[in-house]
């Protein structure tokens, strides 16, 4: 869709405008959720289960009540009025795992909240929590984790597209690859938090809350607490990252809200890092198996996939399903296939519940598929890049074997450009020379497509999709423009990009645009920010609302200037007559006239300079790109040094290339973490082993090379103004590039590795295999 003709100018959109949100962040002035402090505020701490699977015999809080500074202890019976939360996936055969806020009967994972203590400060609350005595009786591991889910598998789905079995029967080569994608933790540097405040006079509950989706969190709070949605307000003033980990309505939030209502005092809970690592937003765990059928000339004909995701004790929100469903649906990627079959599903276990994490599902499918393609090339004796050339989709539109329509992209161009940038041919020579010196160099190349901007026309991974997003544009008496967004920026720079769009629509400067988000009382209903949706939905809703207000402005000017509507133009904060520079009226004067001039109001009928517009994209957008990585593996230690990472990215029209590059760099860094460093470990007894940032390794500046970026630009047909959603593609495609590079360096020993991350000991053990 091309909305640019509606815009007065193209002066700011597409430019590297410095972010408007930065000064507050750079000076410590920006208030984040965990910075919110209210008068008379109390703090809450949890007593959490030390056992993965046990019956709750008793919770004795007598001792806690006499601890100095303790104001209340909340146990299961105190929260019995809170409705259980449940995933909202509607699929045939899906079994539910309702989650009671504080379960009184049994615990299902280490870290599950058992009771809460409210104190004058966190120190007092933790003292109180230490004084609560919990008696647990271990349960037999053979008992079902949830009633009605025998075998612990709560959902499975299998399907075939094309004649897969016959294709495999005819195949000259069949290549198989098994790879376990590890459990990781989203690890935003600001942990989760809530400050809940109940106004008894107005019967309104206000929650300052870590959430990527304030309006959905508002509805979830209201539902669980039995309040009308109208009486709940969610505010997220600023948030220190999320990456998918702040989408689920946590029992901790419901506890704090219930405590605030009961105590009639603000109650704050801030997750500490050990809580975040033990019982917070875990992500990604999946076992994957792929087999591929090839012709003798290296044509990939069909793939069979199998995914099983251990999604922890409860299926929450949509997080658990998106992991294994998106994985199954994104296996074809950019490869031409005659047939594809999948078998995918989720199981519950005695681990923390899985949350979405950037590149949900896609990371697993991309990694195992690209590793398989490399395996196949080695098995068939064809160069790995040549094998991709024989099988990649040509630039342009494409319909996958699953029936998904990709809008035009630079699939092959991006791939070839990445090979040029990495200088693939010379690398092969350098690699061969290094081998003779005993040095292990490798290159990995990962071409990707990212479906984003998912609205009602398409859910992710075959899940039912729907959305509802609006923006409101208003002009006040000063002539300044305020835009209220359906999304919530927590690092993505929406205050800047939305202002760039509005500035061009009205011919003002971005600084003259006030951008509001993260407050359900100040913004119209919207789904929030996840799944690389914000660019598409901001542009769509803002264009729609802006067009209505812009039309009103022009009609006011029509009356005041006594000029024809079509002769009017927006220039430098004014409306004037085209070709008559002396006849211009500033926006403030136009706004004043719309507010108060009787003849203008009479002419306009409805003089309101405010409009709210709904937007739902006709189809998803498809950005694409290719990541290439060069690594050197230490043959003694198995340590990996990343020499280069090159990214070629095409997300259509860019609103702000600097912000796009920021998303790419951050995504690549997270991908490197997944490939080489991060893993959440439970021991055989269900006890977490990586409960601090000393054991759970996040990428540091010294773990990463400079990330080299080049842009291509194939404008979207489905997104407003040519914009394609992006931000998860580079994150989900980077592990494949790094893993393929390491496997290239150590081939054929790579066949011995079936799990991620590629830790030095994993690699060293593989190198020691014959």
């Amino acid at each position: 869709m091309n909305d640019w003709p509606l815009y007065a100018q193209r002066r700011w959109a597409g430019k590297r405008v410095q972010r408007l949100e930065d000064p507050g962040m750079l000076t410590g002035a920006t208030t984040y959720v965990t910075d919110v402090r209210l008068p008379r505020m109390l703090e809450l701490a949890f007593i959490r289960s030390p056992a993965p699977n046990a019956r709750i015999v008793s919770i004795d809080d007598e001792g806690a009540r006499s601890v100095p500074g303790v104001r209340a202890v909340l146990g299961p019976e105190d929260l019995s009025h809170v409705h259980p939360t449940m995933d909202f996936v509607e699929l045939d055969g899906a079994l539910k795992t309702p989650r009671v806020t504080l379960p009184g009967d049994r615990v299902r994972y280490v870290g599950e909240p058992l009771a809460a203590v409210v104190g004058d400060d966190r120190y007092a609350a933790e003292d109180g929590a230490d004084a609560v005595i919990v008696a647990l009786e271990p349960l037999d591991d053979h008992e079902p984790i949830h009633d009605g889910i025998p075998g612990d598998r709560y959902f499975g789905q299998a399907a075939a597209y094309g004649d897969v079995d016959a294709t495999f029967a005819r195949a000259e080569h069949v290549v198989r690859r098994r790879l376990a994608f590890q459990r990781v933790v989203t690890s935003a540097i600001e942990t989760c938090g809530i400050v809940a405040d109940y106004d008894a006079a107005g019967e309104e509950l206000t929650c300052y809350l870590s959430t990527q989706m304030p309006h959905l969190a508002r509805a979830a709070l209201a539902e669980a607490l039995g309040l009308p949605v109208s009486h709940v307000r969610v505010i997220c003033p600023a948030m220190g990252g999320a990456f998918g980990g702040k989408e689920v309505m946590l029992p901790e939030y419901l506890c704090a809200a219930a405590a605030a209502i009961r105590l009639r005092r603000p109650v704050r809970w801030v997750e500490d890092r050990s809580e975040a690592l033990t019982a917070g937003a875990h992500g990604k765990e999946a076992g994957a198996e792929l087999e591929a059928a090839f012709d003798g000339d290296g044509r990939l004909r069909a793939i069979r996939s199998r995914f099983v995701s251990d999604t922890g004790a409860y299926s929450s929100g949509i997080g658990a399903y998106v992991e294994f469903m998106v994985a199954a649906f994104t296996v074809p990627g950019l490869y031409r296939l005659d047939g594809y079959a999948y078998d995918t599903g989720g199981i519950v276990s005695h681990k923390a519940p899985l949350s979405p994490f950037r590149g949900v599902g896609m990371t697993t499918s991309q990694t195992v598929r690209e590793v398989l393609v490399d395996d196949a090339a080695r098995a068939l004796g064809i160069d790995r890049m040549e094998l991709r050339r024989r099988n990649l989709v040509a630039d342009g539109p494409w319909q996958t074997v699953l029936g998904e329509h990709y809008e035009p992209g630079s699939w092959r161009t991006a791939f070839e450009r990445a090979l040029e940038l990495i200088d693939y041919e010379s690398f092969l020579e350098r690699q061969a020379a290094a081998r003779t010196d005993g040095r292990l160099l490798g290159v990995g190349v990962s071409p990707f497509v990212e479906a984003a901007g998912l609205g009602s026309a398409g859910g992710a991974g075959g899940l039912p999709g729907t959305s509802h997003d609006n923006a409101t544009v208003s002009i006040d008496l000063s002539g300044r423009i305020t835009v209220a967004l359906p999304t919530f920026s927590h690092g993505q720079g929406h205050r800047t990009t939305a202002a760039q769009l509005v500035a061009d629509m009205f011919a003002v400067a971005p600084e003259d645009v006030r951008v509001l988000d993260g407050d359900t009382a100040r913004t119209p209903f919207g789904m929030g920010t996840f799944g690389s949706r914000s660019g598409v939905f901001i542009a769509g809703t803002v264009s729609g609302a802006g067009r209505i207000v812009r039309d009103k402005l022009l009609r006011v000017a029509e009356v005041l200037l006594e000029a024809a509507y079509e002769d009017l133009e927006l220039v430098d904060g004014t409306v004037g007559v085209r070709g008559a520079p002396s006849r211009r009226i500033p926006l403030a004067a136009l706004s004043g006239a719309a507010h108060f001039a009787p003849h203008v109001r009479a002419e306009l009928g409805d003089p309101t300079l405010t409009a709210t517009a709904f937007f739902d994209p006709p189809r998803p957008t498809h950005s694409n790109g290719t990541i290439a990585a060069v690594v050197e593996v230490d043959p003694g230690t198995g340590g990996v040094k990343i020499e280069r990472i090159v990214v070629v990215e095409d997300c259509g029209t860019m609103l702000n290339p600097t912000i796009v590059e920021g998303q790419i760099r951050g995504g690549v860094a997270q991908g490197v973490g997944l490939a080489l460093l991060e893993r959440y470990v439970y021991d055989g007894a269900g006890q977490p082993q990586t409960t601090t940032l000393a054991e759970y390794l996040l990428p540091r500046a010294t773990d990463l090379p400079t990330i080299e970026i080049e842009h291509l630009e194939t404008p979207s047909e489905n997104g407003t103004a040519g914009i394609k959603g992006m931000a998860e593609g580079p994150a989900s495609a980077t592990p494949a590039a790094v893993v393929c590079a390491v496997f290239d360096a150590i081939a054929p020993h790579s066949d011995a590795i079936h799990e991620l991350p590629l830790r030095p000991e994993t690699i060293a053990a593989a190198l020691a295999t014959p």
Binding site: Q18, R19, E21, D22, P23, G24, M25, L26, T27, G28, A29, T30, T31, Y32, T34, D35, R37, D121, R122, Y123, S187, A188, I189, E190, T191, A238, M239, G240, G241, F243, D272, R273, H490, G491, Q492, G493, T658, I659, E661, G662, R665, G666, G667, V668, A669, Q670, T692, L693, A694, L698, R700, A701, T702, L704, T706, I707
Partner: protein, 153 residues
């Protein structure tokens, strides 16, 4: 309670504090200086970095009483009195060296003393210098670029 006297951003604060009160909590909860962030409370992420007598320390690894008689400088005091950003703050903005901004105060306070030596910094040295500060958004490149540029005369 223990009486402490700590110079914070140029003002001497006299406070009665419990001996176990962390410096980070004193700054954030008692003095309202929430620019200092807490990311892990065990010294692994660097978000709470402040200057103690001019040298970077983790405010989550210190008790307030340990700062008695000493001077603390926080992010709120990095821009000058006229509100002009420190060259490092400006460089970070110009290079898009922050996204969610939560780790940013800690990175600024960790690096600021290094710049005051006046020596130009090479990229690898900057990577080493910020290796104690975790950022989950940027991938560090743009932070490194910003610091390198800010270190050049």
């Amino acid at each position: 309670m223990t009486r402490v006297s700590i110079e914070v951003n140029g003002t001497v604060e006299e406070l009665d504090v419990p001996p176990r009160l962390l410096l980070a909590d004193l700054l954030r909860d008692r003095l309202g200086l929430t620019g200092t962030k807490i990311g892990c409370a065990m010294g692994a992420c660097g978000a709470c970095t402040v200057l103690l007598d001019g040298a970077p320390v983790r405010a989550c690894l210190m008790f307030s009483v340990q700062a008695n008689g000493r001077s603390v400088r926080t992010i709120e005091n990095l821009a000058n009195e006229a509100g002009e950003l420190h060259p490092l703050q400006r460089a970070l903005r110009e290079h898009h060296g922050l996204q969610c901004g939560y780790c940013t105060p800690g990175i600024l306070m960790a690096i600021a003393p290094l710049l005051e030596s006046g020596q130009p910094l090479e990229p690898d040295a900057v990577r080493e210098a910020i290796a104690g500060n975790l950022c989950r958004c940027t991938g560090y490149d743009t932070i490194v670029d910003a610091v390198v540029e800010a270190s050049r005369p």
